[in-house]
Symmetry: C2
Subunit: 456 residues, 2 copies
């Protein structure tokens, strides 16, 4: 029996483990799921005879090394900062490794050693990073193979609520780590290139510089720029490309309303507010407004942010009870971001029957035989339920498929890898289609941002 | 002869050194001025027989220790981050020390040792910090001595251009380190308390939350909040105060226009712009605006920031040549803040005959015998020329006066000190009056922010 060790049985591991257990009979697998909580591991395995739940604290050197030594291949679904312990053991004991996380500088430096040992360390093979890499490279390689020259690449991903569960004014619920949503965009300036011009958007303008996307059957979405689009020039081999832009998808109107929190300073995670525990939501809101005993918090808020009384933003804010004097924060020594997260979780937590949705959208502009052309492709995945969410499927299934293919020697190029070569993306994208994860592609007229070639 | 060692002969040392040399005959002083540039030191000493210029690299351990050992008292006018080397030598060789910088955590920890050796390490005795401490504590102590209870303290300082040299639309020129002006407000949220309510202003709103000040003969000014006003509760013994606010003074309209740079991201010092060296000022500006080959940079700018064609902000921007396609940045691998600084220095550098001006304004609200009262006081100092600037006078003279008084044993309380006790502020404020540095004080009606005691 081939022993697959899955370390970390969090929310993103459900579909991954199900896939492996479903294949375990035919492929002769034992799926060993190790987690700091044995219940987490047990829950995802159920009563499957080929699954085994293991209590593992990854800081317990001996236990960790023993488990890794005893396995045929390792999947690390740990938070990214904990990967290196597993990486080093895999290198030592000669085990292949799969993760859905970005390749760190520290990991990149091990490439030579990994290659020398003939090992495959496959990373960035979840959703984003993961399916975005594979689906983009498939089209880019096809264009290049035909002799085309890439001139534009834009790519957008969003974790959203499914249309059937979309019942609040923000058209948004937390389908993943709420904290990441609250502090999104704060890591540094958003950089990209459009028609050969470098563009920079600071945090305070990020949510006002959206662009629109249309997806058949799903309507209109908006996208806001990710932090560093420019690094994808090197990764995707697009060094001379004129336009390169990556972004995050929301339903239309989300960003304009979210900008209110940004402008007031409610998303700040860098300091603790005085007396946060006993604050009402109204007190919290009032902390960011001028002192004035005569005017209401509501009017001060509207005036500060220039919100008209009939602006839908106002209804969105009321929906969150942002002005409630009764609801209490109840968090000691909390930052504004932590308090905002708490307020949002009252309204944006998924109900038991709610489903999530993943949307991905690519635009490829290229020149072929002197003509400019454009391909657009999109993927929409809806979750089955609150365990087998769209997020868990799109993150976990590529990891699981890759793991089995590495185990069987079908993916074998050694080194610290990401899924940008045909050997990897062709079979994985093909198999993902069996699970309803597929792209709709169409040729459209090339538009770009400067169709008539005017000087800007 | 008493040897006074002045380390650092930068712009803020001129008036300090002049004061000491002027007193040197009568007080039997030798003023030893040590700098990494012997020319700097020489220039400030001139031909004075009691002055001596010394070439000193403070990283040269032996030379530094020899100079300090050989002196009777030390003044460090080095950038704050270099003080500790001098501090440790002074402690070792038993020399008193004076600086105009904030007391660092590292320095604070030495308080016991300094006391044990009976030494005076006087800090924060320049302008801000310095004259602000002294002039505030003088009034606060007087109010408390009369049995009054402090309920409000607001304090504002600004380094500006003198009215006779105020000839641009911004009513501003760089009279001090331009870099500090460009990145001002970025260190963290502005915190203060008003009528018992904590208030927080994030960077993106800082320049839109100004308040006004009137100063007789000088007209109207505006003030924006400093980073952390709350720490002054402890320093000034104002623990139960309802309103505590410290701010920076500008001429009216400056902040509203400056906010344009903040919103666009032009003040960001955290990343390097691609191709900065060959950019025109217009390219720089365009980097922060949406790509569009049809619209002018001007119209995109106005639209993005909602600036009407007849708004004075527009004229201010044109005055800076922000849209010039001819003027080049010429700085390699520069951050937005560095480029903006370069653009501003074209327009805001003092001409040879220009003079600077320091403005300080305090408001003290208190209750005495059941009545609410208010005292306001202000100081305006104008520079003599480009050497003996208002900044050099207000920073350097308190340092110089304190040094002489410590040397003569008139200020003698040992420890790591700041000038908040009568022993220190009374004689120094009195002597500063001889140099035209004095406060105009008046009783006004108490206003506060909630005169009718309404609930907010």
């Amino acid at each position: 029996m081939n022993k697959i060790l899955v370390i970390g049985a969090g929310r993103s591991a459900s579909s991954l483990i199900k896939y492996l257990l479903d294949k375990s009979e035919k492929e002769d697998l034992q799926v060993r799921v190790a987690d700091i909580s044995i219940e987490n591991a047990q829950k995802l395995i159920g009563n499957h005879t080929n699954g085994k739940a293991i209590l593992l604290d990854i800081f317990d050197e001996k236990a960790r090394k023993d488990e890794i030594k005893n396995s045929d291949i390792v999947i690390s679904m740990l938070p990214a900062r904990f990967h290196m312990k597993v990486v080093k053991d895999c290198l030592k004991f000669g085990k292949n490794l799969v993760t859905a996380s970005y390749i760190s500088e520290e990991l990149k430096e091990l490439d030579k050693e990994v290659k020398a040992k003939g090992l495959v360390f496959m990373n960035e093979i979840g959703l984003d990073p993961g399916i975005d890499h594979m689906s983009a490279m498939q089209v880019i390689d096809r264009i290049k193979d035909k002799g085309g020259k890439m001139i534009l690449f834009e790519s957008f991903t969003g974790g959203l609520v499914a249309p059937e569960s979309d019942d609040n004014l923000w058209n948004y619920k937390f389908t993943w780590n709420p904290r990441n949503v609250v502090v999104a965009g704060q890591g540094g300036v958003a950089k990209f290139i459009q028609e050969g011009r470098y563009k920079y958007i600071p945090y305070q303008k990020l949510f006002r510089r959206t662009e629109f996307l249309e997806i058949e059957d799903y309507g209109r979405f908006e996208a806001l720029a990710n932090r560093d689009s420019l690094k994808y020039r090197e990764i995707y081999g697009l060094n001379d490309i004129l336009t390169l832009y990556r972004g995050t998808i929301r339903k239309v109107g989300f960003s304009r309303a979210w900008n209110v929190f940004v402008q007031l300073g409610m998303t700040d995670d860098s300091y603790v507010m005085e007396g946060s525990e006993n604050m009402s939501y109204r007190d919290f809101t009032n902390s960011f407004l001028s002192y004035n005993p005569y005017d209401s918090v509501e009017l001060k808020f509207r005036h500060c942010l220039k919100i008209d009384h009939d602006d839908i933003i106002w209804d969105k804010l009321l929906e969150l009870d942002l002005f409630s004097a009764d609801k209490k924060v109840g968090l000691k020594d909390a930052t504004p971001a932590q308090i905002l997260q708490k307020i949002l979780m009252d309204s944006w937590t998924l109900e038991e029957d709610d489903k999530d949705m993943i949307v991905m959208y690519h635009k490829f502009g290229y020149e072929l035989d002197g003509k400019k052309k454009q391909i657009e492709s999109n993927m929409v995945v809806i979750g089955d339920d609150q365990t087998y969410t769209a997020m868990a499927k799109t993150v976990g299934l590529p990891v699981a498929i890759a793991t089995l293919k590495i185990l069987k020697g079908e993916i074998k190029t050694p080194g610290v890898q990401l899924p940008i070569t045909k050997e990897v993306y062709e079979p994985i994208l093909k198999e993902l289609e069996d699970y309803g994860i597929n792209f709709k592609e169409k040729e459209v007229e090339y538009l770009g941002y400067n169709p008539f070639n005017l000087g800007a």
